[in-house]
């Protein structure tokens, strides 16, 4: 099962907060986080990596999809 977090258009710390709620809710799996600015991409990636998740970034037009796996 994959969870999707849509944080497009939101500025920090909201994308991080939304992602953290999901990371705390599930011990492992796949979480897709949609972000639309570089600061959000960096901050969400740092949070996920600190919590032991692998992060892969894919461009989706003007947005970025961060695929977090653990």
């Amino acid at each position: 099962m994959s969870i999707e977090v849509d944080a497009r258009g939101l500025s920090c710390p909201e994308p991080v907060l939304m992602t953290m709620r999901q990371l705390n809710a599930v011990p492992s799996g796949i979480i897709k986080v949609l972000v639309s600015n570089a600061a959000a991409e960096e901050n969400v990636s740092r949070l996920a990596e600190n919590k032991g998740w692998k992060v892969k970034a894919e461009k989706d037009g003007e947005d970025t999809i961060l695929i977090l796996t653990k």
Partner: protein
């Protein structure tokens, strides 16, 4: 440590330039202050007529142009906007009033601390308290809503306006007001200020450094990333001040500061809440505006108008202290911002439309 490198370098340069620009002629403990410099720009453009604080600070112009150029080169200019724009404008006005009651933004707060000004310690406690309150609202689901993508051209208006200001300054336009005495008359040579601004703008765009963000992220996530920038700036400026003799420990007779602890605290509490709800300190707002975020451009204009209000209506503090109107504005501002924060939080007690999708979604919590 590698992932923190940009933030640490940016903080270090900010601290170093803060000390150097003071040595080169900027006002004491005000080598760089985003709030004070926006206030001076507001005066230079004639929005307020407080004669001692009028100068079109090249540091701010350089900062915007540096951030814009590097964003352009790295293809990060992206026009976005439409996230509760007027609310942002209003919060920026309140934030600026709070900062002008304290006499400094988070950047100058660090420079004042690094120069031994203990009044700034109360400002720091206020800032942390304000950020903690703002962070609490964020965890309650406070949001100003998402931005939408806009046509590219909209992202270029702000940097082009700043470029126009630079031409006005370079050609000493008669439209501009320049202080003959007071802090506005104290400034480093134009090209040095501009160059320093350009470098800081480039670094701040790369690092996303935010002075309030460091405290916020530590409170909310125990994430120290941005805090490293804050602490590096403090350390570098402290060493710089000791070397250049700019360090004077104590509360009394600190330059461009007052010793009214309560209002140093409450002024920064107000601005701490506002900038947390806005998503970043004045430095961060300037950088995001340069990258095409039109909401942040409006926020910067909110700071300019807030500075004009603060001086036109006698609210801004001076070395003599905080006038009654300034004290009243901070108290009313605190009440107003708490109402705005509550009503924009998802767990608020009143009905509000859902954040995404626009349908009316009654909150039953």
């Amino acid at each position: 440590m590698k992932k923190h490198a940009w933030v640490i370098v940016t903080g270090g340069i900010l601290g170093l330039f803060g000390v150097i620009l003071f040595q080169m002629g900027n006002p004491p403990n005000m080598g760089i202050c985003i709030a004070c410099f926006l206030r001076d720009i507001s005066g230079a453009l004639g929005f307020h007529r407080a004669l001692p604080v009028q100068y079109l600070r090249p540091e701010i112009l350089g900062l915007v142009l540096g951030a814009f150029l590097i964003a352009l080169l790295t293809k990060q200019v992206k026009a976005v906007g439409g996230s509760s724009t007027f609310t942002r404008f209003f919060l920026a006005i309140l934030a600026m009033i709070g900062m002008l009651v304290f006499l400094g933004c988070p950047v100058r707060l660090v420079l004042r601390l690094a120069a031994g000004d203990l009044n700034a310690l109360l400002g720091l406690v206020g800032l942390v308290a304000g950020i903690a309150v703002g962070a609490q609202f964020l965890s309650y689901g406070f949001t100003l809503g998402p931005t939408s993508n806009q046509n590219k051209i909209n992202g270029y208006i702000f940097p082009v306006l700043v470029l126009l200001c630079l031409f006005l300054l370079l050609f000493k336009s008669p439209f501009l007001f320049f202080s003959k005495t007071g802090p506005g008359s104290l400034h480093a040579p134009l090209l040095i200020s501009l160059g320093a601004g350009l470098i800081i703008g480039i670094l701040a765009q790369r690092s996303h450094l935010c002075m309030a963000g460091g405290i916020r992220d530590f409170i909310m996530f125990r994430d120290k990333h941005l805090l490293y920038g804050f602490l590096t700036m403090l350390a570098v400026a402290l060493v710089g001040n000791i070397i250049f003799g700019g360090f004077k420990f104590g509360f009394a007779n600190q330059p461009i500061a007052h010793s009214d602890g309560l209002w140093n605290f409450l002024g920064m509490t107000l601005s701490g809440i506002c900038i947390t709800l806005l998503g970043g300190c004045p430095l961060r707002q300037l950088i995001a505006a340069s990258e095409g975020n039109t909401d942040c451009a409006v926020t910067v204009f909110g700071f300019l108008i807030g500075a004009a209000f603060a001086h036109n209506f006698g609210m801004a503090a001076s070395a003599k202290g905080v006038p009654f109107d300034g004290q009243a504005a901070v108290v009313i501002g605190l009440l107003v911002v708490l109402v705005i924060a509550s009503l924009n939080s998802r767990f608020s007690l009143v009905q509000k439309p859902s954040v995404r999708g626009g349908s009316s979604n009654v909150n039953r919590s």
